[in-house]
Amino acid sequence: MRHIISILLENEPGALSRVVGLFAQRGYNIETLTVAPTEDETLSRLTMTTTGDERKIEQITKQLNKLVEVVKLVDLSEGPHIERELMLIKVKAIGAQRAEIKRTADIFRGQIVDVSPSVYTIQLTGTSDKLEAFIESIGAGCVLETVRTGVSGIARGEKVLSL
């Protein structure tokens, strides 16, 4: 099962390499990873998605918690949460295709952020599933390039991950 693990990490050089190294070293899989400083500049917020059965995820969270620079950690998939991913996608857009792609982008609430005579660059935000559904709708054949940020997530309601 897919899990979204959210981590508050000391914003120090080398901290990220410990997190990533742990996954490589113990044979865990990272599907996506996003990291950036928070409003408190001493802390970074890191979101990663990974897959595994309950026992494996338990080991992953325990091992992460053992890292001295990991301040706090939560498995967002354990409760109601919001997840978002941003994608920039460059697609071939010629002739009749141009209108069709524009329509599809509208349906998915995407924005065309750059235009050339034969290419659209579209910005799309949503869950990972939604981004994949968009690619499927326009047809993988016309995709020239995609770049995705990886998942960011936050718990719904009052629950916060902070010190």
Binding site: G14, S17, G21, R55, Q59, K66, V71
Partner: protein
């Protein structure tokens, strides 16, 4: 306000952290620090002959005293040579602080002379590591390094110091923190009371219980508490390879080591138990054999300070995260309060069964009629000669298992071996680290002619500092454990397990200025041991003892089997 250089800060901070000895080797990046060492006498430096040995010396010291050992090496090869030693300490949860020099900050990343990314190279085998970026941070980093290394589940910590952080002419204010508090690091102080209560209820209701304890009990300094629990409950107790000595080896309730080369009675007791309480051990694969067949009828209670050890390989029915000592205190208090005792009748039946197993196999091996000795009898003779009270270090292989099986450790912190990583070359420098700190105690390194050659250069260090350790080399002229596996699994094809062109060890150690004694016949051993611990007491003695090369270590668990599936001799299986 007094201003001092980064190098002086480092040495002063080590002194404040309680460091007496530093084991190391100088080099370009650390020369400012070595100059700071020269100018004082509180922190003594021991010059090894290879940096790996420095790490093992610090490790031996840490295992015997419970306090972090300190290593100091230069950048590049100096640092990378410690890697095996750091990994050895990491695998066995041994506190250590490694100070590695680094090239000038402005050269980092330029592939400068003797530059290695030490933090990157050591990352998977340290508990934590620090890079010094400002000289004035040095005292705080040192204090944090010791705090992290010594607390919780201990482990090695690396401090990487670029040379420009230690410039003699750049001076800063020295402030050593009185107390360390880290928001992201808070080791557990006690176990969960509800879980401890559940554990006590299970223990009191058990009909066929066993206490399985490991190195965590020794690290926590809680052997007395373990002994009190075992004796109070009248339960059988088995120790892991790392846990030997936590419960007395000659104690009546001790059923021997468990696992791959564990005693027949310990493995049978584990397999047939209905309640297993594991204290400060981690269900290592050398203990459990096939996890799917492990203790089929048992409820498992697991006490460990590291939550990631719990339910990693064996699912615990009652997990207790906490320091062993605090958890045992709470258990004893609950037992006092409950004023109940375990089912005496069931225990009597259980003990009867265990004693039958003991009689069936026990610590048995076949003696030779010839003068060529079995390795086991050499260990037994050494146990007698040292009255069972020596610090015994070992290298890795058959001699290690024979020492673990046949030297009965009655005290904790006396059996010093690389249990988790299995590092050949560990025993000798570890023994040196211990002897320097326990000059009045007997310290013996049990080794083989294979392992000893992995750090034999330290004979020179021993002469320089006068470290009279005793080396007992069980010389069978082959890599015994490899040979045993080749006998058992490869139809006796001894691929590269035979040691050709062995040196004359007696001449070799004499060349280093020590005493060498060669023993080929059984009749020579008593005198040799007497001389080793008698007239040569203040000298390093290398006892090179010829032993039967065909001997195997038994019992030995059958791969993919349960704990009770064992070879008991070359021809007998359970």
């Amino acid at each position: 306000m007094e201003l001092i250089s980064g190098g002086d800060m480092l040495v002063r901070a080590l002194h404040e952290a309680g460091v007496e000895y530093v084991y190391g080797y100088p080099g370009g990046s650390l020369l400012h620090v070595y100059d700071s060492l020269y100018k004082q006498s509180a922190v003594k430096h021991v010059l090894v002959r290879h940096e790996q040995a420095a790490a093992h010396m610090a490790d031996g010291y840490a295992r015997a005293t419970g306090k972090a050992g300190v290593v100091m090496v230069t950048s590049g090869p100096g640092a990378t040579n410690t890697i095996t030693g750091i990994a050895t300490a990491f695998t066995d949860s041994i506190p250590m602080v490694v100070i590695s020099g680094q090239v000038m900050s402005h050269l980092v990343g330029d592939d400068a002379f003797q530059e290695t990314d030490m933090l990157g190279v050591s990352r998977p085998i340290v508990k934590h590591s620090f890079a010094v970026r400002r000289p004035e941070d040095i005292p705080e980093i040192v204090a944090k390094a010791f705090y992290i290394a010594n607390t919780g589940r201990p482990g090695p910590v690396v401090i990487d110091i670029p040379k420009d952080m230690t410039m003699p002419n750049e001076r800063y204010e020295y402030v050593y923190p009185k107390k360390i508090k880290m928001r992201s690091y808070t080791p557990p102080q006690r176990g969960h009371s509800g879980q401890i209560k559940k554990a006590v209820e299970l223990l009191l209701a058990a009909k066929r219980p066993v206490i399985y304890s490991g190195g965590g009990v020794i690290i926590d300094g809680s052997s007395d508490k373990l002994r009190a629990l075992v004796d109070r409950l009248n339960f059988p107790c088995t120790n892991t390879l790392m846990g030997l000595g936590a419960y007395p080896g000659t104690g009546e309730r001790f059923i021997g080591m468990l696992g791959m080369h564990g005693s027949y009675e310990a493995n049978m007791t584990m397999h047939n138990a209905d309640v297993v309480i594991c204290i400060g051990a981690r269900f290592d694969d050398r203990v459990t054999n096939a996890t799917s067949k492990f203790c089929p009828d048992a409820k498992i209670i697991h006490v460990d300070i590291d939550p990631s050890s719990i339910s990693k390989t064996i699912i615990a029915d009652v997990p207790i995260v906490g320091p062993v000592g605090a958890v045992l205190d709470e258990m004893m208090a609950l037992l006092d309060e409950a004023n109940e005792t375990p089912d005496a009748e069931a225990l009597e039946t259980w003990w009867k069964q265990i004693n039958e197993w003991r009689e069936r196999h026990g610590g048995r091996y076949e003696k030779n009629d010839s003068q060529l000795m079995k390795p086991q009898e050499v260990i037994e003779a050494m146990w007698t000669a040292t009255k069972g009270d020596a610090f015994i270090t070992s290298d890795v292989g058959q001699h290690q298992m024979f020492a673990a099986q046949y030297y009965k450790f009655d005290k904790p912190n006396r059996w010093i071996n690389s249990g988790g990583l299995g590092t050949m070359g560990f025993g000798f420098p570890a023994a040196m680290g211990i002897k320097m700190n326990f000059p009045d105690d007997m310290v013996v390194c049990v080794t083989g002619e294979g392992s000893i050659q992995m750090n034999i250069q330290e004979l020179s260090t021993c002469l320089q500092y006068g470290i009279p350790v005793k080396i007992l080399c069980l010389n069978n002229g082959s890599l015994g454990m490899v040979r045993q596996w080749q006998d058992m699994n490869y139809e006796g094809r001894h691929s590269h397990s035979y040691m050709e062109s062995l040196p004359d060890f007696v001449k070799l150690v004499e060349a280093y200025g020590h005493v060498g004694i060669r023993v080929t016949d059984r009749d020579q051993l008593p005198q040799a041991l007497e001389d080793t611990f008698g007239k040569y007491n203040d000298r390093l003695v290398f006892l090179d003892v010829a032993v039967d090369e065909t001997e195997h270590v038994y019992p030995m668990q059958v791969p993919t089997g349960s704990m009770r599936d064992m070879w008991l001799s070359k021809t007998e299986r359970t």
